[in-house]
């Protein structure tokens, strides 16, 4: 400390309530720095543990699963029994079918709802008529639906599609229930994608005399497509990993579902077993933990691929936005 600060120090002891001496301040700062170091150490540990838990779960399933996965495991059908004989071929097929059917139902409806909320409901904002109320009711519906737990969708699907409409445990019952589950996901991502489309795009098209739908179809939707596809892929992930809904609507038949192209009606009413369901049955009802791990490994790889696809798509979306800005 040089003269100048000592002088202020003398001053301040007279007319200021509180002044730390240099050494007090240094000691306290050292203590604070130590606290900070410890706290940040804990925070780093939290981040590290999150990564380690992921590596442990994924690594364990993949390593254990790799021991049973071979060509035969992937291409023979499960044969039932307490030791879970057979492979998992039909469950892969059933998963793909169910994903396809569910998306076929949910995507148009969800995208349509998203378009309405962004492109048409906007006009009504600020007005106080019944339409404005309608919009807020719709938004409440979408938000609430997103928070409904999957077993409730299952119960609902069971009551409406399986029993009341007499579809039984079937692809169509499961797909309709699953569509309800992913609908909010698709609506939200569609809305977000549409909101990123710059206003001048629309104005340019409308100014050329295009109707609103022509503008949406030719200009807005293509621009928002990567974002919409991201939402659809996200939904694919949800369906692949969902179990509770399909446990109570799809049944658990491990026979090969009929081809949707050759026998569409039979396909719709046939039961089935997705990979996630198969894992559950193996783990809970049989002693075949090795086969369950094998199924889990295929499931985890699918989910990782889907996540990579989402990251790739949103990366491309960001890039194209930056390119246009």
């Amino acid at each position: 400390m040089n003269e100048e600060s000592e002088e202020t120090m003398v001053n301040t002891t007279q007319d200021v309530a509180w002044q730390q001496t240099q050494s007090e301040a240094e000691a306290h700062l050292a203590k604070r720095r130590l606290t900070e170091k410890i706290a940040f150490g804990v925070l780093w540990a939290a981040g590290a543990v999150a990564v380690l838990v992921l590596i442990a779960v994924v690594g364990y399933v993949l390593l254990e699963g790799a021991q049973v996965i071979d060509w035969a495991f992937l291409t023979t059908r499960p044969k039932g029994g307490l030791s879970g004989e057979g492979g998992m071929s039909t469950t892969i097929v059933a998963t793909i079918y169910l994903v396809g059917l569910t998306i076929l139902i949910a995507a148009p409806l969800g995208v349509g709802a998203g378009i309405y909320l962004v492109e048409y409901a906007g006009e009504m904002q600020g007005t106080s008529g019944w339409q404005a109320h309608l919009i807020s009711v719709i938004r409440f519906g979408v938000e609430t639906l997103a928070g409904v737990p999957s077993i409730i969708f299952g119960l609902f699907g069971y009551a409406l599609f399986v029993t009341t409409m007499k579809f039984g445990f079937s692809m169509i019952a499961a797909a309709l229930s699953g569509a309800c589950l992913v609908l909010p996901v698709i609506i939200r991502t569609t809305e977000e994608a549409l909101l990123t489309v710059p206003r001048p795009y629309r104005e340019g098209s409308l100014a050329l005399g295009a109707t609103q739908w022509q503008t949406n179809w030719r200009v807005v939707l293509p621009a928002a497509m990567p974002g919409i596809i991201t939402g659809v892929v996200l939904s694919v992930g949800r369906i692949v990993s969902e179990t509770a809904v399909f446990y109570v609507t799809l049944g658990g038949s491990y026979y090969m579902p009929p081809s949707p192209i050759l026998h569409f009606r039979d396909f719709l009413t046939s039961g089935g077993r997705t990979m996630a369901l198969h894992l559950y049955y193996l783990a809970n009802d049989t002693a075949a933990f090795d086969k369950a791990m094998g199924t889990g490994a295929v499931l985890v790889v699918s989910i990782i691929l889907i996540n990579l696809a989402i990251n790739y798509l949103s990366h491309r979306l960001n890039q194209s936005m930056r390119g246009e800005a």
Binding site: S5, T8, V16, E24, A25, L29, K31
Partner: protein, 257 residues
């Protein structure tokens, strides 16, 4: 700089945002217990320069510096940044009270510096609020949220908050730019009072304000390169009546900027 001690000094100071050079070769001396104003056209780096004194630019990724800044002869880049900021307070362009009570705002600094004694904290709160000419307006409402005050009051609360840690220097970054004329005059009055006890460096885009409150003035300038340079630093009276650089004169007389 006759008769004044030097509080802060920069020597050949450069600052870069990544590859972009924002400040080039700034050397000047800030006298103690005086008000030094930094003026110049927008984008000339005057706020960036101010934020160098308490190393606020450390928070921005990609910033690096060359040259030296010293406080009472000690290089600030060798000091613990927390200890530095404890001695070099700052008031920002927009009032930024924490979403806490007035009392908690004012005593935040002493408390993070380790003071727990309630009586002393009370005393500091009163003293700082008096120092910032806010005490009479809020003394019955210390529990009220700082955000519930008017803009001018919020800025004085931020000044009180800075005073409470008893710094040597107070940096003010266009402290009145978000305020109405009456609130501005109160802040200016306050600045003149505060220089009794503190060294004050103020960035302002308002030349009349610089003329009213400051003892010394630094004129910063930039051309198309957007790199800020120091054109002239002198007694405020001299800068405003008889600048030695043509660019300073052009700016003062409003020919550009």
């Amino acid at each position: 700089m006759t008769g004044s001690e030097i509080k802060l000094e920069t020597q050949n100071f450069d600052l870069y945002y990544g590859n972009f050079q924002a400040l080039d070769d700034i050397s000047l001396q800030i006298p103690a217990n005086q008000v030094t104003a930094i003026i110049g056209p927008s984008g000339c780096g005057k706020s960036t320069f101010l934020r160098a004194f308490n190393r606020m630019n450390d928070l921005i990724p990609g910033v690096h510096t060359d040259g030296e800044i010293s406080m009472e002869g000690e290089n600030i880049f060798n000091m613990d940044v927390v200890a530095l900021r404890r001695r070099v307070g700052m008031v920002f362009q927009r009032p930024n009270p924490f979403p806490k009570s007035i009392y908690d705002n004012v005593t935040y600094g002493p408390r993070v510096n380790g003071l727990r004694d309630r009586d002393k904290l009370d005393e500091i709160a009163e003293r700082s609020l008096r120092g910032a000419a806010l005490w009479d307006e809020v003394k019955d409402d210390l529990g009220k949220s700082g955000l519930a005050l008017s803009g001018g009051q919020q800025q004085r609360l931020c000044i009180a908050r800075a005073l409470a840690v008893e710094p040597d220097v107070i940096l003010m970054d266009e402290p009145a730019s978000a305020l109405d004329p009456i609130a501005t005059l109160r802040i200016e009055e306050l600045i003149r009072e505060l220089k009794e006890d503190y060294t004050i460096v103020i960035v302002t885009h308002n030349m009349q304000q610089a003329g009213r409150v400051s003892d010394y003035t630094a004129f910063f300038y930039t051309d198309e390169s957007r790199t800020g340079i120091l054109v002239e630093f002198d007694n405020t009276k001299k800068i405003f009546t008889n600048p030695s650089d043509q660019r300073t004169e052009d700016y003062i007389t409003g020919r550009f900027g």
